[in-house]
């Protein structure tokens, strides 16, 4: 257990009564484990203490509770480049994490929940590095009108979670590569992301690292609540032994959560090949094909595909499975079907 030295700088004095605190720091960069720890703290943590949990992930796209991954990010590129795709339990939009992005989570009881205070703790921590930051109306934290932190929230009964990101030295071109502006052909019932121009904190403070910033946030957390405690370092193997945490970890990795929780959506596609045209209107529910209207000219290319797709997973595996079950109509038709499949996989 590390002990944190007393603060040497003050930006203002805290006026509220001291409250007991707890600080945890994850040593893992596995996004599923870090989010499982967060879930475990949310449901089973001690709410008589203000709790701060600090963590960071290896390259991952994290989408909000009610988002459509196919609309928010390039799912195929994530699979190709071995980037994780994780759905969190709080609301809000899609974000890209890598080791240059640090995350914070504040857990409070409803009576003492104050997301503005949490944001001020972060801003005061940044002041240690001569960075002047302030929250906007959406509680994003900005430096010179550029977003360096976004937040999301989850409320359940008396339990309140406010968590967010901090761009220290993230690969911003990856952020643009993997997160979409929005696929105009997908009409979705879910929640859309709100895009903002971003910047790394290292642009303003080149020596800033994850460890330095986490140390500063911890100090400000103690200062704001008038209490100190030892920081608990969370070991990956030890955490996986906790039954509720292990269950949350498995659930986060399941296809049924990551893709199956997608709100219903429609996707309209059409294309003209050298040999004819194809028109497909897909309805998806729970991440699966629900109702498909697929037609082609000449008709035998896609004949029967509509009914075969229903119930299959909305990805290239589900599509491939359905196309293999189609009736053999000769090598020309098979070749044309292959072209349609390649096109569809690119578009979906």
């Amino acid at each position: 257990m590390r002990q944190i030295s007393p603060l040497s700088r003050r930006s203002f004095t805290t006026t509220s009564a001291p409250q007991p605190v707890r600080v945890l720091l994850s040593k893992s960069t596995d996004p599923y484990l870090n989010l499982a720890i967060e879930d475990w703290l949310f449901h089973h943590g001690q709410y008589d203490k203000q709790t701060l949990y600090l963590w960071r992930n290896e390259p991952t796209v994290v989408i909000g509770r009610n988002q459509n991954p196919w609309k928010e990010c390039d799912v195929k590129a994530l699979e190709r480049d071995s980037i994780h795709l994780v759905r969190r339990s709080s609301g809000g939009g899609a974000v890209y994490h890598d080791l240059g992005n640090s995350c914070f989570s504040f857990f409070s009881d409803k009576s003492s929940y104050d997301k503005n205070k949490n944001s001020l703790i972060i801003c005061d921590a940044l002041r240690h590095f001569n960075i002047t930051a302030s929250p906007n109306t959406r509680n994003d934290i900005l430096v010179n009108d550029r977003k360096i932190s976004g937040s999301a929230y989850r409320l359940s009964g008396k339990r309140c979670l406010h968590h967010g990101t901090l761009l220290i030295s993230t690969h911003l071109h990856n952020l643009q590569k993997y997160l979409y502006v929005g696929n105009p052909y997908i009409k979705s019932a879910g929640v859309a992301s709100v895009r903002s121009p971003v910047q790394n904190l290292s642009h303003y403070a080149p020596m800033l690292t994850h460890d330095l910033l986490m140390n500063a946030i911890t100090k400000e957390f103690f200062h704001h609540y008038g209490h100190r405690c030892g920081v608990e370092l969370l070991d990956e193997e030890e955490m996986k032994k906790i039954p509720q945490l292990s269950e949350a970890y498995e659930n986060l990795r399941k296809w049924g959560w990551r893709f199956g929780e997608t709100p219903s959506f429609e996707h309209k596609l059409q294309y003209t090949f050298l040999w004819g045209t194809v028109s497909i209107h897909l309805h998806s529910e729970e991440g699966r094909f629900k109702k498909v209207e697929a037609s082609s000219e000449p008709p035998e290319v896609l004949e029967g595909l509509s009914s075969l797709l229903e119930g299959k997973a909305y990805d290239r595996h589900g599509l491939s499975e359905a196309m293999e079950m189609m009736e053999d109509r000769g090598s020309t038709v098979t070749q044309r079907r292959r072209e349609v499949e390649e096109w569809l996989v690119r578009e979906m």
């Binding site: 609301g91 009576s111 999301a152 929230y153 989850r154 409320l155 359940s156 879910g190």
Partner: protein
């Protein structure tokens, strides 16, 4: 302005007539309007040119008095000259029961309709998405039934009673803002076939107790 005593006499006069003829609330308007001015003048000392003003000004008094009357008298007698089908009061007078987590439950036979209170929708902010349960899902009192996403947070809505989900409000899929604009009516979330209504309602609050609970929540926060 119409004197208060005249308003009170008019209210009592109308309620007496209403209860004898029909329990329809709308009838009280017609009764009042059709009653000859001489009769009204004799009964309550009303002048002709007061009639319109009085009708508008006593509406609230009749409403609150009639509600009390109906709660004491669940069935109504029917006059011999007219047959009037007894019907319950309009839905806005049906009793809602509330949980400490700000959900409401309205019971009709074995079916309970569930939604969130006005206090809750204000706290949530603008609702952008409602994740409803599947029809057929079995819920126990206190289970997380619905997840609501607003601009402020993703929030859990708990089931106020145990039972099987029989219907969900499909309108919320395309109009999640109904939760804000009509939380007590068209913004209902799901219906349950209740399995233990008699025991579970004991733990719920009536409107008055819930209003006091909300006041104490505001004081503590």
């Amino acid at each position: 302005m119409v004197p208060v005593q005249v308003q009170q006499r008019a209210s009592r006069f109308i309620l007496k007539r209403k209860n004898k003829v029909s329990n329809s609330f709308g009838c009280s308007f017609r009764l009042f309007w059709r009653t000859p001015i001489k009769q009204l003048k004799n009964a309550i000392g009303l002048q002709h040119n007061y009639r319109v003003i009085l009708l508008i000004s006593i509406m609230n008094r009749i409403t609150s008095t009639a509600r009390l009357v109906c709660q004491r008298r669940p069935t109504f007698s029917v006059a011999a000259s007219r047959s009037v089908t007894p019907r319950s009061f309009s839905r806005s007078f049906s009793t809602k029961l509330y949980t400490k987590d700000h959900e409401w439950l309205q019971i009709d036979g074995h079916i309970g309709t569930v939604g969130i209170s006005d206090y809750a929708q204000k706290a949530l902010g603008d609702v952008v998405f409602v994740d409803l349960p599947d029809v057929g899902k079995l819920l126990t009192q206190g289970d997380v039934a619905v997840s609501v996403e607003s601009v402020k947070a993703a929030s859990d809505v708990y089931s106020p009673a145990s039972g099987e989900v029989t219907e969900v409000n499909e309108a919320l899929r395309t109009q999640p803002d109904l939760v804000n604009s009509a939380s007590l009516s068209n913004g209902w979330m799901f219906k349950l076939k209740l399995s233990q209504p008699d025991e579970e309602v004991k733990s719920l609050k009536n409107e008055e107790a819930y209003a006091k609970f909300c006041e104490s929540e505001d004081e503590n926060h």
